[in-house]
């Protein structure tokens, strides 16, 4: 049973339309220090997705009423550029971008040691320059790299990856067609050192076994991506 129409996206040998195997992820590049005025920044490309994240702070939180006396507040803004998709995105926030900002903020709040900076604010701006599928994963992963680049204390980085189901096969890192015509999508935010989760969503249905398989794909991909994040952070800019 195909989900939406009967689009064949994976053949009997387990090769997907773009030539990947079920557990393969799209090519990734990560670069730090791309916004010179920011305290920390990151550009991440993932397949044809591209995100630029800038982090400012810690700084005094304004207006005063948003200040917390015992911790810092995180201000995460996810935005897609009008030119990031084939049909023009209307500029400004919308229901979807608010939701993604919220889940990204919640995920980052569980790794950043906010209690070290009472009354302050840390601003994280995620800008999606080019969107294919899985922009929330790119945004969250890049945001954690940018926060580390800004020297903000965190208990771990966050790697976010999605797995899903197409033509009844569980595959890792869906591309646009697979996301649109597939049956399920399971994005996860993973702390790569401990394997703990900071973010989990599911679209569509997965059986228990399929869920476990998607989980495993995500965990394995997270380790692979974590290596690139470490390399991007430690590779450049050092003295």
């Amino acid at each position: 049973m195909g989900g939406y129409g009967d689009v064949q996206m994976i053949d009997e040998n387990g090769v997907r339309a773009d030539g990947r195997g079920p557990g393969d992820i799209r090519p990734i590049t990560i670069e730090t220090g791309v916004v010179p005025v920011a305290d920390g920044s990151c550009r991440m490309t993932w397949g044809t997705n591209e995100a630029i994240v800038a982090v400012y702070g810690p700084m005094e939180a304004h207006p005063r009423k948003i200040q917390r006396q015992d911790r810092a507040v995180l201000d995460v803004a996810y935005n897609m550029a009008p030119f990031s998709t084939t049909d023009r995105m209307r500029p400004g926030f919308n229901r979807r971008s608010r939701e993604v900002s919220k889940v990204t903020q919640d995920a980052l709040e569980s790794v950043v040691l906010l209690e070290l900076y009472p009354r302050s604010k840390i601003r994280v701006s995620i800008e999606i320059v080019s969107a294919e599928a899985g922009t929330r994963c790119v945004g969250l992963t890049a945001a954690s790299v940018a926060l580390a680049d800004a020297g903000i204390p965190m208990t771990d980085l966050v790697v976010s990856v999605a797995s899903g189901k197409i033509n009844d096969v569980v595959v890792c890192d869906l591309n646009k067609e697979e996301d649109n015509y597939g049956e399920a999508d399971l994005p996860m935010g993973i702390m790569p050192n401990s394997g703990e989760l900071v973010f989990l969503q599911m679209d569509g249905d997965l059986s228990q076994d399929e869920f476990k398989q998607a989980w495993k794909y995500n965990m394995d991909a997270a380790q692979e991506i974590h290596k690139l994040m470490v390399e991007a952070l430690n590779g450049g800019d050092s003295q």
Binding site: T29, I30, G33, D39, Q69, V111, S120, T155, V230
Partner: protein
């Protein structure tokens, strides 16, 4: 795109076991948040390090430093956070009848009370002594838990800056400007015939002939350009 630090996963399976610090190796290496730094037994967690269930864990990205029993991380890129005793250059951002608010480039403005100000100041006369926008060389007296800090101008050489220029540079580049034992800085002072005061918050006061000041500026921008791998 031009020569920045780029990590690349080219065809999905390459680069297994790519570079990155090995968790247990202690020395002058770079770590990222979440890195395991080994057993906490017999060690003290310093700046940027946390003990979690018997293991040392990195909280920041930077260089690992081991001093005796204490393990700490010196961040490569970070906002200035005041510490008591720091020599700082601030700008006056506001005043009340009996105190000034000083901007240090830190998350919060510092307070300079009249009693710690320069010389004798009458109540209500703060603004006639140092006005908004003036630069001052001062020292951090105390820092509260909530990060609000008090600075003082009582001390040798602490004063309002009346001549020369104030330049700003990333705090993590200070080490490079000063050099081993202050050698690089001494050479820069001699060659440019300028007085240079390097403050801990990444600001420098340069005083001298115009040519000398311009020369110092060029050298500083060369250092900061260099640190970004030739970009900008």
């Amino acid at each position: 795109m031009n020569g920045g630090p780029v990590a690349r996963l080219d065809n999905m399976t390459e680069k297994k076991g790519a570079a990155g610090p090995q968790g247990n190796k202690r020395g002058e290496n770079l770590v990222v948040p979440g890195d395991d730094l080994g057993d906490s037994e017999g060690f003290e967690a310093g700046h940027g390090v946390l003990v979690m269930s018997g293991r040392l864990k990195a909280l920041k990205q930077g260089k690992l430093r081991e001093k005796g029993k204490s393990i700490s991380i010196e961040p490569i890129h970070t906002r200035y956070i005041p510490r008591p005793g720091d020599l700082v250059i601030g700008f006056i951002e506001g005043c009340t009848n009996n105190l000034w608010f000083i901007e240090l480039g830190a998350p919060f403005n510092a307070i300079l009370p009249m009693s710690l100000g320069p010389g004798k100041v009458d109540f209500g006369g703060t603004r006639s002594v140092m006005d908004i926008g003036d630069a001052v060389l001062c020292r951090v007296q105390e820092v509260e838990e909530t990060h609000s800090s008090v600075v003082t101008m009582k001390g040798m050489g602490l004063r309002k800056i009346r001549s020369g220029v104030v330049e700003e540079i990333d705090p993590h580049l200070l080490g490079r400007i000063i050099g081993k034992g202050g050698e690089t800085l001494r050479r820069m002072k001699a060659e440019t015939q300028c007085r240079i005061v390097v403050a801990d918050n990444g600001r420098m006061w340069i005083d001298g002939e115009l040519d000398g000041i311009l020369d110092v500026r060029n050298r500083l921008s060369a250092i900061s350009r260099d640190s970004r791998g030739g970009r900008n």
